[in-house]
């Protein structure tokens, strides 16, 4: 592999950093280069250390890593991040020591400038991905955590689907057309959006279930639901608690935890797919939601906007279903509890749930959701 050499004195000008980081990174690199020139020793360990310091500074600024590099110390005592980790983290921004040309000469000691970076708990470095988030643990500095990306929770497929073409999970010919579904990878998903129709819950261990949790609270409802609205009950984490006649505030709160978001819910009527929110079932009859909205007792308290109306219609239907009411006009496909886990196991535990059991419920709910709607499965195997 060939690289063009970079003179240490010109280091700051050689890379195309994102504009918002350029100034800060330039300052940090400049301090390190001043130090390098001031304390220069023509030895391999010294040069390796300076290269490590430059790469550490890049990681601190671009990737929000934390490291306290005290330039008042001798070079061999200055703290840096691990070289292999830096290589992995920085990719093409990583500069190996072999690439640096030392256009300096031995100089006098004693620069006392300090680069100190606030210790950070969370950073967001996930590449635009099919939804994989990376957790990087440093062996010799404060562990950093990459926030779980919202995309990890989506019910949409990962951006880059992975599957094993040697393992067809379903392979059938129906009406002269071949239908194949291959087993998706990884076999044990590490993020929620990797769960597919081929995921087998029996292969999971307890720690596999726990890996599926996000490492922070992720808002899954529409943004407007997280703003207080008039006198409506409001939970600082869950947002607006809609008033639904016949159900208490606690029951609705529980419903929000169990069903944190709704994705493409439809109802089939006369072989036509209709949006689930567009119609409301009342006493066994189906009505256009907007035409009966004003007659509903709860509508006096709820804003007449699509986000609120959609949530009201679905949550009311789910509360009725879960309390034993049998609807005449069912939803297309299944919708079970804990289709998405949107916060940490600790928070679920504080709400009174068993995190391992919720992990099982997540997989069961997602697999059921997908299988009940998958057109190939419905065509080849059928689904109620």
């Amino acid at each position: 592999m060939s690289y063009s050499k970079i003179e240490i004195s010109q280091f700051m000008d050689k890379f195309d950093y994102p504009i918002k980081f350029k100034a800060k990174l330039s300052t940090m690199h400049s301090d390190i280069i001043d130090y390098a020139i001031t304390h220069y020793v023509n030895s391999k360990p010294y040069k390796q250390k300076i290269a490590l310091m430059l790469n550490t500074a890049t990681a601190v600024v671009l990737l929000n890593e934390s490291c306290d590099m005290d330039l008042s110390l001798p070079y061999d005592e200055i703290q840096t991040l691990n070289d292999d980790d830096l290589d992995t983290m920085l990719g093409d921004k990583y500069v190996p020591v072999s690439r640096i040309e030392w256009d300096v000469s031995n100089a006098t000691p004693a620069s006392t400038s300090v680069i100190s970076i606030p210790k950070l708990v969370k950073s967001s470095t996930t590449p635009k991905s099919g939804g994989s988030s990376e957790k990087i643990n440093q062996a010799n500095s404060v562990p950093t955590v990459v926030e779980t990306s919202k995309e990890d929770l989506y019910l949409r497929p990962p951006i880059i689907p992975r599957f094993d073409p040697t393992k067809p999970w379903l392979d059938m010919v129906k009406d002269g057309e071949r239908y194949t579904i291959y087993t998706t990878l990884p076999i044990i998903p590490a993020v929620q959006n990797e769960i597919s129709v081929t995921t087998d819950i029996n292969k999971f261990t307890e720690s596999d279930f726990m890996n599926l949790y996000p490492n922070g609270f992720i808002r899954t409802r529409k943004a407007i639901m997280y703003e207080p609205c008039g006198d409506l009950p409001f939970d600082p984490d869950l947002g607006v608690i809609l008033p639904i006649s016949g159900y208490t505030e606690d029951q609705v709160r529980k419903n929000i935890i169990e069903y944190p978001h709704f994705y493409k819910l439809i109802r089939f009527m006369n072989d036509k797919a209709n949006s689930f929110y567009g119609q409301t079932e009342i006493d066994g009859e189906l009505f256009d939601t907007m035409s009966v909205w004003d007659e509903l007792p709860d509508s006096k308290f709820i804003p007449r906007s699509s986000e609120f109306i959609k949530e009201y219609v679905v949550r009311r239907w789910l509360l009725e279903r879960d309390s034993g009411i049998e609807h005449k006009y069912p939803m297309y496909g299944t919708l079970e509890k804990f289709l998405t886990l949107f916060t940490t196991p600790e928070q679920y535990a504080s709400w009174g749930y068993d995190p391992v059991e919720l992990g099982k419920s997540l997989i069961s709910a997602r697999v059921s959701f997908l299988r009940s709607r998958n057109p190939i499965i419905r065509r080849c195997i059928g689904h109620g």
């Binding site: 093409d92 590449p127 990376e134 880059i160 998958n374 190939i376």
Partner: protein, 195 residues
């Protein structure tokens, strides 16, 4: 359908050949000769992350060095298609150019009265694709024509703001001679990214 990468996740009401996702992705896979029965969709998450770093790197010209250029180029093509298929309206916005085969086609066309349609389309795609992946440099003996052609492709694409990724073996192993070969080698060396 047996060639849809989204089949295990699909929740659309109907699966048929008119499905937009199937149409747009299978068009690109077909244009690029991608087989979903090969080992590319089963690549490891680590390899895919590496490839994504290449795809997302800032430069318009990126050169990546690999021992197995064929596998890397195929994986780059697959990931590039997965990230860019939506809304392509059946335009070839990701294209994998096998450079040695392309040169053969060009040279064969010199003896023909009209340029073959397939070659015309190849030239359209390599000039307009949002992401062009060039491989098979190791099967080319770079003399003036071969070097100039590659320089022209790269220069035209850079000036149009399009991304070009060259997958090459170690640059020191490329075979060639002449002023233009040295020029293309220098250009590729300066564009090498490591992942």
């Amino acid at each position: 359908m047996d060639n849809c990468i989204f089949a295990p996740f699909c929740t659309l009401p109907i699966c048929d050949k008119a499905c937009p996702s199937l149409v747009e992705t299978s068009y690109l896979f077909e244009r690029n000769g991608c087989s979903l029965k090969g080992n590319v969709p089963g690549s490891s998450a680590k390899d895919i992350l590496k490839v994504q770093r290449i795809l997302h790197a800032d430069n318009k010209l990126k050169v990546t060095i690999a021992d197995d250029t064929s596998t890397l180029a195929n994986l780059l093509t697959y990931c590039g298609i997965c990230e860019n298929w939506q809304g392509n309206r059946l335009h070839c916005n990701v294209y994998h150019l096998k450079y040695s085969a392309y040169l053969d086609s060009v040279q064969r066309s010199w003896g023909l009265k009209d340029m073959p349609e397939s070659l015309e389309y190849t030239q359209i795609w390599l000039n307009t694709a949002k992401i062009l992946i060039i491989s098979n440099l190791d099967f080319v003996k770079f003399q003036d024509f071969q070097s100039q052609t590659l320089l022209n492709i790269i220069h035209d694409r850079i000036s149009n703001g399009l991304t070009t990724i060259v997958v090459s073996p170690k640059l020191s192993t490329l075979v060639g001679s002449g002023v233009f070969f040295n020029r293309i080698k220098t250009m590729l060396e300066e564009a090498v990214i490591s992942v």
